[in-house]
Structures are given as structure tokens and as C-alpha cells.
Amino acid sequence: MKTTGKVQGIISNIVIVRTEGAVSQNEICYITIGDVKLMAEVIKVIGKDAYVQVFDSTRGLKIGAIVEFEGHMLEATLAPGIISRNYDGLQNDLERMESLFIERGTKTDPIDYEKLWDYKPLAKVGDVVTAGDWLGEVKELWVDHKIMVPFVMEESYTVKSLTEAGQYNVNKVVAVLTDSKGEDHEVTMVQKWPVKKAIKGYVSKPRPSRIMETGVRAIDTFNPIADGGTGFIPGPFGAGKTVLQHAISKQAEADLIVMVACGERANEVVEIFAEFPHLDDPRTGHKLMERTTIICNTSNMPVAAREASVYTGMTIAEYYRAMGLKVLLLADSTSRWAQALREMSNRLEELPGQDAFPMDLSSIISSFYARAGLVHLRGGATGSVTFLGTVSPAGGNLKEPVTESTKKAARCFYALSQQRADSKRYPAIDPLDSYSKYLEYPEIVEYLDGHIENGWVKNVMEGKTLVRRGKEAAEQINILGDDGVPVEYHEMFWKSELVDFVILQQDAFDDIDANCPIERQKFMFDFVMEVCRKQYGFVEFEECSAFFKNLINLFKQLNYTVWQSEEFAKYESEIRSIVASK
């Protein structure tokens, strides 16, 4: 018997409901208005009054409207057919909505319940299984989509019967499991999971031990993100957060990408809708859309669903991780989510924290970032969720609460600087402010030694030092004047410019330069460092700039040339002869 209630008060999208029975925190309810039902979530209970946030406009709602409580929290539907869908924050399929406008209360199924899938069982009768164990699989596009013991079934079960291989829709019972009390449970291909809880169902969560290639030199070479790691990109308006995230979503070495457009401008998502179905994934040859799922709650869509959208994205990512896949979750931008939290907190008349954000902002953010990670699954496979969020700090102030709280939670920090963006040095990742804690992990150092070259991290640190000293030299030159400093200062400055122009800067709109594989990054970085290690002994500072400008130009040509082509070799030997001649 469902709990019901009546609307007692309305303040914008917070509705106070007088309940007749038990309600739980974060329970979902539906408010009837005319012939539509508005979805809402309980966020506070006082006595018999439940405060619910409505995921839609409350226009026209009246006192006394009937509210039905569902008895469960906000859930994501997990089943074959999620990849390449475009959802709103509540997992409604946007593609199935026919009209130009999204009318209030519109709901569409997240998956196709009619479609037949080629199913084959993986488990055997008599196996002892628990949440997350693989029972069977279907082919979803190119992915072996595992049908698992639902994550809510956390006890130990014995497989009583399994359905034979064949074509079925998702509602087909594929297995019957018996629990310790002898009761039978039927399992279909569909399961539901409350989005705000982390999906467990794995054996262990080790420290990340390998890096995830993104094809962006400023990330992979200087501050790599680990497979199963977390990172965030704060940057002021116009610094290129979205272009960088798009580049990563196109090039990252992941099996699946889940993109959450949270409170961002809709046109940015439209670009993905329009381009991804046509672009090829360079690694697999599939279309990019075949590995991408989009959760889209743009700035004009209901604000309460924003919070839901990041959780829905994470839940989908965790679901595919449990199949042993490498999933990259991108969220643009978590600041808008924090703003939604701030609005709700304000409505509930909670005492505000710093910048009026709720006091628990920091813990909400860190528990969300903690859901990412590399996991060992039962049966030996590993899966990972790598999370990269953007933060839009108001006025470019990196000391504001959202950036500060995220900094505590995320391991990589890619600070986009307005100064670099203004001087058109893209990607505008600041080489000195940014960091990757993974470079300090012994596991990662060992991995990089083995996969790139011995002593790689040491070289990278040397490169960072070079950039820092170059900046210091530039400041001295600015203060004391060109001829007021030793010529070595000029040399130091120009060497850092060489690293900046050749390694840090990258042209996202050039077919070749946009995506730089790790092998090429290694070559370029080693080459640049080799050139920089040499002491040239210039006499006049004017010589310095001419010499290095020429080198920068040639190195840039190298970046734009097909890897190891004849032309590439030509530029390479030209650089070597110039360096040797000096």
C-alpha cells in the first residue's frame, strides 16, 4: 500500500506535502496536476510534513493536490540498450520525445523493452553467485553486455535454472536463483538501482596503476590521469573547458564514455549530437556515438534534475564497469550542480556556509568523486570508472568553495588560465598550477617506466622545472631589462618557450596535432628535452630569440606532420643539424 499525501504549501519548486503514513528521506513521489504527474524527491521531513523538490515547474499547482509516494529512491534503469542513448537527468530518452518542446511531466522509457537481444548464458546451474556476478551476456552494439545478478541481491544464491541461448527481449526471465532460505528469485535483463548509492558488487578497489591516454600532451605527458582516477578542470568563462572535454571524449582510450552536460548551454551538447554519429573512434573503428552515452540537463531544463543527472551518469558508468569495461565519465560542469544544491539549501532556509553554499558541499563532492575507481571483479576481470569534471569558478576565482572542495577530492587538477587563453596558448592548461598526484604513486611510476621509458617521471619533473625557471627568468628580464640580465636568463626563458609551444600547446582543430598518441608524445618530449639540455653559450641575447624562434617553428611543423613520414624525418634532421651547428 503506497503512502499518499496532499499538497500543503508551495514555494517555487519546493512543495510541502502533508502525508498519511510513512515516508523516507529521498523517496520519490508523484504530484498530480491535471492529467500530468510531476516527479519529486523528499528532501526533508518535519512531523507529518514532507518537503519535496519537484523536478519540473510547479506552475498552477494547488493546495490539496494528491501526492503518491513510490516507496523507493530515484532509480536508474540498467539494461542492454543504454549505450548511444541521449537521456535527460532523470533518464528519459530525449530522442523518443517527438515534439520540439519538452512538455511538463513528459516521460519516455530509457530503454527499448521490445527489442530482441541475442542472449547466451555464461553461468552454470548450481553455481553460487552474488550481486554483480555474470549470468549471461548479450551483444549490445560491439560490447559484450553482461547480464548480472542484480546489485540489490547482496546475499549468496544458487543458480537453480538458466534460460537457453536465444533471442529475447529485456523482460525475459533469464535465470532463477535460490537463496539460503530456499526461496526462488527470478532475474531478468533489467535491474534498477538508486542513483545516489554507489554500486558495490566487486571484490576490491586497488590503487590505480596505469594511466589513461587522452592524446592531449599537456595531460598525458605533464600531468597524466590514471585509469580509474579522478581529475577536474576548473577554468574561467571562455578558457576552453568544453573544447578540452570534447577532445578528451573523442580521443580517450576508454571503452565507453558517459558525458553529463549538467547545466551547460544546450548548443554544446548539440555539437556532440551532430558530430559523434559520424566520427570514427580511432582506436576501434566504430563510430564515436557507439561508445558514448549522453545525460543532458542543460541550463534551461529543470534545476532539481541537475543533481540527479550527475548521479544517473555515475550509476550508468558503474554498471558498465561491473562488466569489466573501462568507462570515462565526464561532467560539465559540477559548479552548476553545486548551484542547484545551493538553491535547495536556501529554499529550505538552512543557514548558509561559505558563498552561501550548503555546509556539506565538500562532503557531497568528495563522496561523489569516491565512486570512481579501478575495481577487481569476481571472476578476475577488472573494470574502471575514470571521472573528469569541470568546474566554472565565478570570475575565475580558484579559491571559491566548489573549486576548493573539489581539489580535496580529485587527484588531478588541470587549471585553465585566463592568461594563457588570452594569449591563445591552447589548451590553456597552466603547467605550473596544474598537478597530477598520480606521478607520486610508485605503481604509476613503475608503469610509466615499463610502458614509456625508464626514468620517465624524472624527465617530466625536469621539464616542469624548466618551465618554472623559464618563468622566473622572464620575470627577471621584465624587471631588469633585456641587457640587465645574463644571457643565460634569455636562454632559459626561450627553452621554456620551446617546451610551451611544442609540448604544452596543441591544435585541437588540426587532424594530426589534435590527437597525439603516447609513443609520439614520448618522442617529442625526449627530443625537446635533448635540445634543451644542451648549453648553447650565446654571446648576445638577440641571438637567443632568433635561434629558438626558428626551432619552435620547425618543431611545430613536426607536430603537424604525419608521424614518421618522410617529411617528418626531414624536419627532424633539419632540427638536429641546426642544434649541432650551434
Binding site: G60, I63, L100, V269, T298, N300, Q339, P352, A394
Partner: protein, 292 residues
């Protein structure tokens, strides 16, 4: 907005603040319009039978026994081809007299566009201003904020953009515009002979500030009509969003809401984002003069 025969008239107001009145009433919907002693108001909060109304013109001179009438509908705008070439106040009533516009009555601030049904913006809007065209191109279907100090000629720049853009309709939403600026726009459009392409919703500094809250939604409802129903290219100019945000702060302050950052209401960010809701074939230029 005619009075229906069976409509209930309330005559007992409990509380009056500078911008809101509270009274006991039943059967009232959220966001609904009402008339309080002849002044237009909108429902902003309902608690049991206590209904709080935001009076657009301010509550000066309203007495506790003023007549309160609920209209049963949220603010609407009659959309039709007759909108073109006209100047309206924040309620969508024609300024300078003239017959009301005939057409379909539409709720303002209605549903949002499905992002999946949008098209990718790709068409350049040439403004003839090198600083914009070369460095920060305006693309059809985008929204662009202009940040400026009060001494900068932002209205002139916007007017230039408006006249040079090859748009079928130009919708101007003026919030807290000085009368001089309003007349500047009006004369400019008249002299350029583009009046038939213009629709104006104006709240000048002479009008009560709270009325401004209706302007963006009015302008966008008209824009969506021309863009979505008529398939025209529409350029929307909203000036100035800071004064709009100030009006939000005033209302929230007078309702005793806890102020958020910089004493703005917490919802201001969302409202600004929503008010810049775009259509697939609709140009939009928004001015945000100070950092928000």
C-alpha cells in the same frame, strides 16, 4: 482578463510588505495572476490557505480591505503576426494605445526545447564590428553576453548589431531602461525603416522595478512564436540583465528569504540561465553588464 461572474472576491489582506501581500484564500494555483486593488500581482508562495502575492507595481496605497481577484491563469501573451512593429509594456499591453494584438494566448515561461531537437549553430551573423566578427563571432542560435560599465555605449553597440544582423524579427526586451535609451532605440529603428521587424517589451526606469521580472519571458515567448511557429530568424536583445537581477533581489528580500551570495537570491543563477533559453533558429544577444 475580464472578470467572470462567479469569481470569488477576497477583501481581507493579512500582511502587506513593500512588494508582497498575504491573505487567506483557497483553490489558488502557483504562479497564478491576480489583481490586488486594481494592481496586477502574481502568486509566489502558498502555505496552507495563506497565499503570498507579489504585486508588480509595488504595494503603495493598497489597503487591508482591497479587493483581491484571482485570474486562475499564469501570465500569458497573445501571439500573432500583429506583434510586429509594436511596443508593449511588461504585461504585453500595447504602449501608446492601439488595439490589442489578436492571436493565440500563450503562457510565458513555458516548456523548454528538447536539446536533441536542436540544430548545430553554424551560421555567422555579420555585425560589421571587427572586434566581434573576427575575434568573438556571433553565430545564429547562440547567446552572447555583453559586459560593460555604465559609461560604455553598450546600447549603441547592441542597436548596431541588431540593425546589421540579417534577422527577420528583432525582439527588444528593455528592463530598467531609461526613457532616453528607449526613445533612442525607437527612433533608430524608425529611421532605419525596420519598424515592421521590431517587437519591443519595455520596462523603463519610470515603471516599478518588479514588473521587469516579466520582460524576458514575454520577449522570449514572442521570439519562440516567430522562430518555432513561423520559421523565422529572430534576434533577441535583452538589456539590461543586471537590473533584472536587482529586481529579483528586491522581491526575495521583501519576502524575508535568506539572501544568498552577494545578497542575490539563490535562484538568480538559474533564472538567468533559463531566461536565456534558446531556440534552434533564434539569434539572441544578451547583455550582462557586470560580473554575475
Amino acid at each position: 482578463m475580464t472578470t467572470k461572474a462567479f469569481q470569488k472576491i477576497y477583501t481581507k489582506i493579512d500582511n502587506i510588505t513593500k512588494a508582497t501581500v498575504t491573505l487567506r484564500a483557497t483553490g489558488v494555483g502557483n504562479d497564478e495572476l491576480a489583481t490586488v486593488g486594481g494592481h496586477l500581482a502574481q502568486v509566489v508562495k502558498i502555505m496552507g490557505d495563506q497565499v503570498t502575492l507579489q504585486v508588480f507595481e509595488g504595494t503603495e496605497g493598497i489597503s487591508t480591505d482591497a479587493e483581491v481577484l484571482f485570474h486562475g491563469v499564469p501570465p500569458t501573451l497573445k501571439v500573432g503576426d500583429g506583434l510586429a512593429g509594436r511596443f508593449f509594456n511588461a504585461y504585453g499591453e500595447p504602449l501608446e494605445g492601439g488595439a490589442p494584438v489578436e492571436g493565440e494566448e500563450r503562457e510565458i515561461g513555458g516548456p523548454t526545447v528538447n536539446p536533441f531537437r536542436r540544430r548545430q549553430p553554424s551560421e555567422l551573423i555579420a555585425t560589421g564590428i571587427a572586434g566581434i566578427d573576427l575575434n568573438n563571432t556571433i553565430v545564429s542560435g547562440q547567446k552572447i553576453p555583453f559586459f560593460a560599465d555604465p559609461d560604455q555605449p553598450y546600447n549603441q553597440v547592441m542597436a548596431n548589431v541588431a540593425l546589421r544582423a540579417k534577422a527577420d524579427k528583432i525582439i527588444l526586451g528593455g528592463m530598467g531602461m531609461t526613457n532616453d535609451d528607449f526613445l533612442y532605440f525607437k527612433n533608430l529603428f524608425e529611421n532605419a525603416g525596420v519598424l515592421d521587424r521590431i517587437v519591443c517589451f519595455v520596462n523603463t526606469t519610470e515603471n516599478p522595478p518588479v514588473e521587469r521580472l516579466l520582460v524576458p519571458d514575454m520577449a522570449l515567448t514572442a521570439a519562440e512564436y516567430f522562430a518555432a511557429d513561423k520559421g523565422e530568424k529572430v534576434l533577441v536583445l535583452l538589456t539590461d540583465m543586471t537590473l533584472y537581477a536587482d529586481a529579483l533581489a528586491i522581491v526575495s528580500n521583501r519576502m524575508d528569504q535568506i539572501p544568498s551570495k552577494d545578497s542575490m537570491p539563490a535562484r538568480s543563477t538559474r533564472i538567468l540561465q533559463r531566461s536565456t533559453r534558446r531556440l534552434c533558429s533564434c539569434h539572441r544577444v544578451v547583455r550582462l553588464p557586470s560580473s554575475l
